[in-house]
């Protein structure tokens, strides 16, 4: 067992990439079970979908730039807003968060991989194939067209006879499997793979928020799974779940969807909260203010998130009692959220602030999310909501939350962790341009929507007449979207350029305090040559700047029992050795998860043929896919991991 010998000069790994004796060909990516590579795959794929969703938004904004726009037809516009929402929620933001879950959770808790490395690969491939399955139809004008929430009975055969909704129903079902599999994996990883001494209350906040998100995933997704199964059966097998003529309740779908849908909101935002909570202390040179309160408010948000769903349905007339209960619960959830905002501000208070691009994004995230949060509290009140619901005011609200909150937080995360992932910094100059174009563009786009919404402009209309007072607000919104696109172009240039030619980053690229910064950038495949023993929330600051962590709780060395032979006191690792040299067993690369995912998607996609009357073909594909899937699964489970 080698130990870290003479400290090598940090930051001398020129040409840093995945090239430390690890294979780099395409096959190595198809068969990888390394959580860092899977995280990288998630990142690339999700950014691609983010761009696709952005282009869909741009086309819509072009159409709406002035009254009576003629760029696209009503039908195409329906597909655009449906796919924009679906793409951004399920194919961009969730997987961008998943990229960070994958890359960071094991590094932050001091583990060598996730609990189930092959299941992890499976999650990614299911996501990729499911995403392709859902996105490709737009090129044939057959994309889903009933909104990202797919309200039934609108989505039943009677009102949506085309294939469009089939792609949506089946696609979401597939993506649900990916999210669920990943969630079981991360729950197990966080519970069971923390480094010695890392108690739950010493976990980095990003890991904590991710932990909460995994529970939201496993408890929220079953509801939409069931709602989708009903819709699938209604469409393909003639059941009557959403058949009003048979006595069905038009609100069944809405309730089941929002039982999932509201926790989903927190699934989208909590990871960004976590990232901001890593960035702000680092660039304030202060431990996070009120760590415990941050953790508990995150858990509170998660719990309460299951009891507020009907605030999306005030307009349907649920009655005074239900409205009151859900309004109060919704207002209540503003408290832990507000607490977080004040904690972030207090973290920065009196700190030595360094406004690098990551920090700019994180601060912007706090500010913009606050605006979105406040407009959210407005329509938590049913009477106010009746005025605002289904107008552009709501569009403004949730874009402040999801773009201003999630995307800004995630972008901050990308600037912050890019050096860890690649060994090179992103350019600050281009980053600054990216930030300001995003920041200004986002406000120019979404702020006027508050006004057009209050003036009564409904959501989802493909065109509008002049003279209703909406014209100039829409014009500004479109200008803002173009600004954001300019920002995105700076980001793309930055991303590709810096991968090859960015400034070399050392282990600890920013002077942060958590474990992931104690190992080389990019980390070797085994992450930690020796598992560190953690004695506080900021182990690396304990090592390098003990004065910064003097005020937080530590366990004294004599209270620590190091029973694991691999564990050694907190240290920095600077050497690249192969896992073999160190005697660390690594999981074998395998192609089986990819094939299992492929067959699973084949199985589901067979159902499409029922709709076009080819029942025999549909059953052949579905049953064939299922058989191949089960076969692959048996092969997978009977082959050794490492």
């Amino acid at each position: 067992m080698a130990t870290t010998a003479a400290p090598a000069p940090i930051g001398t790994h020129a040409g840093a990439s995945y090239g430390h004796g690890e294979p780099t060909g395409i096959w190595s990516w198809l068969t990888t079970v390394d959580h860092k590579r899977i995280g990288t795959l998630y990142l690339w794929t999700a950014l691609t979908f983010f761009l696709v969703g952005g282009i869909e938004a741009l086309i819509m904004r072009m159409q709406l730039m002035g009254p009576n726009g003629q760029l696209v037809s009503a039908e195409v516009f329906n597909q655009l807003f449906t796919m924009h929402g679906t793409t951004m929620v399920f194919l961009a933001i969730m997987p961008l968060s998943a990229a960070f879950f994958n890359y960071l959770i094991p590094l932050q808790i001091g583990a060598r991989d996730v609990a189930f490395p092959r299941l992890n690969a499976f999650s990614y491939w299911v996501y990729l194939f499911g995403g392709i399955f859902m996105t490709v139809p737009i090129f044939f004008s057959a994309a889903p067209n009933a909104g990202w929430f797919g309200y039934a009975p609108l989505t039943t055969m009677q009102f949506s006879g085309g294939l469009n909704i089939d792609f949506w129903v089946i696609g979401l079902q597939i993506l649900g499997i990916s999210s669920l599999a990943a969630a079981f994996n991360f729950i197990t990883t966080i519970i069971n793979m923390r480094a010695p001494g890392m108690t739950l209350m010493r976990m980095p906040i990003f890991t904590w928020m991710s932990f909460v998100v995994q529970f939201l995933l496993i408890l929220a997704f079953p509801a939409i799974t069931v709602a989708l199964v009903f819709l699938l059966f209604d469409r393909f097998f003639g059941t009557q779940f959403y058949e009003l003529a048979a006595g069905a309740d038009p609100l069944l779908w809405q309730h089941l969807f929002w039982v999932f849908g509201h926790p989903e909101v927190y699934i989208l935002i909590l990871p960004a909260f976590g990232l901001a909570s890593e960035i702000l202390p680092t660039f304030s040179k202060k431990p996070l203010f009120g760590y415990n309160v941050m953790v508990y408010s995150g858990i509170m948000i998660g719990f309460l998130g299951f009891g507020v769903w009907a605030h999306h349905m005030f307009a349907v007339g649920m009655g005074a009692t239900a409205d009151t209960i859900f309004a109060m619960a919704t207002l209540l959830i503003g408290i832990p959220t507000g607490v977080k905002i004040f904690n972030w501000i207090a973290t920065m208070w009196g700190g030595q602030l360094r406004f690098v691009t990551a920090m700019k994004f994180a601060v912007a995230m706090v500010a913009l999310f606050t605006i979105g949060g406040i407009s959210g509290v407005m329509h938590a009140s049913p009477p106010t909501d009746l005025q605002q619901t289904d107008t552009y005011f709501i569009v403004a609200h949730f874009h402040y939350v999801l773009f201003g909150g999630s995307i800004m937080g995630i972008m901050g995360g990308i600037y912050f962790y890019f050096p860890k992932m690649t060994g090179r910094y992103l350019s600050e100059k281009l980053g600054s341009l990216h930030f300001w174009f995003f920041f200004i563009g986002m406000n120019v786009t979404f702020f006027p929507m508050h006004y057009s919404g209050m003036l009564g402009m409904p959501r989802r209309i493909y065109t509008y007449d002049a003279g209703q007072g909406w014209d100039q607000f829409n014009w500004w919104s479109t200008i803002g979207t173009i600004l954001m696109f300019v920002g995105a172009i700076f980001f793309i240039i930055n991303f590709f350029k810096s991968r090859k030619a960015g400034a070399i980053a050392p282990n600890d690229a920013w002077g942060a305090g958590t474990l992931e910064w104690s190992i080389p950038s990019p980390p070797p495949d085994y992450n930690f040559a020796q598992l560190p023993v953690v004695t506080s929330r900021y182990p690396l600051w304990d090592l390098k700047h003990p004065e910064m962590t003097a005020d937080i709780a530590h366990s004294a060395p004599d209270e620590m029992t190091i029973t694991d032979s691999h564990a050694v006191p907190m240290h920095e690792e600077t050497e690249y050795k192969t896992a073999k040299e160190l005697g660390i067993p690594m999981p074998f690369p395998t192609i089986k998860p990819l094939f299992a995912a492929l067959f699973l998607v084949v199985m589901f996609s067979g159902l499409i043929f029922i709709h076009v009357g080819m029942f025999a073909l549909a059953m052949t594909i579905t049953i064939g896919g299922a058989a191949l899937f089960v076969g692959t699964l048996y092969g997978w489970l009977t082959s050794p991991l490492e």
Binding site: I187, I191, T199, L200, M201, F211, F215, I218, L219, A223, D249, L251, H255, V259, V295, Y296, I299, F306, G307, A310, M318, T321, A322, T561, T563
Partner: protein
């Protein structure tokens, strides 16, 4: 899942250090559980055929009996009573949110009235 103190309250005792050597329900307990499961099921079905079926207490009585069966299987057959607290929390988290969701949905669809 949230409480550091609960974790700290468990010293690294041998009982938890190796998960497989926890206390176990015994053969005898297994058979008693099976006996009660059978008996309660028999009572449930019997009650269904008595005039008690029309009583307003019928549904609550059946729910209680079913809850007892549910608990027995989970506690003994799934040995959650003897296992690590983490498993209990994972299960109870799902179960409680599921139960509250069912009740809330029934209320929202007018199947349950608040206050009787």
């Amino acid at each position: 899942m949230s409480d550091q103190n609960t974790q700290a309250a468990h010293p690294p005792a041998p009982a938890h250090a190796t998960a497989d050597h926890h206390e176990h329900p015994t053969w005898k307990q297994y058979k008693w559980v099976a006996f009660w499961l059978t008996l309660i099921t028999a009572v449930e079905v019997w009650v269904y055929y008595t005039p008690f079926k029309e009583s307003s207490l019928f549904a609550p009585t059946l729910l209680v009996m079913s809850a007892v069966k549910f608990t027995m299987v989970v506690a003994y057959y799934m040995h959650i009573k003897y296992d690590h607290w983490i498993f209990k929390r994972l299960f109870l988290l799902g179960l409680s949110i599921a139960t509250v969701t069912i009740l809330a949905l029934l209320f929202l669809f007018g199947k349950l009235k608040i206050g009787g």
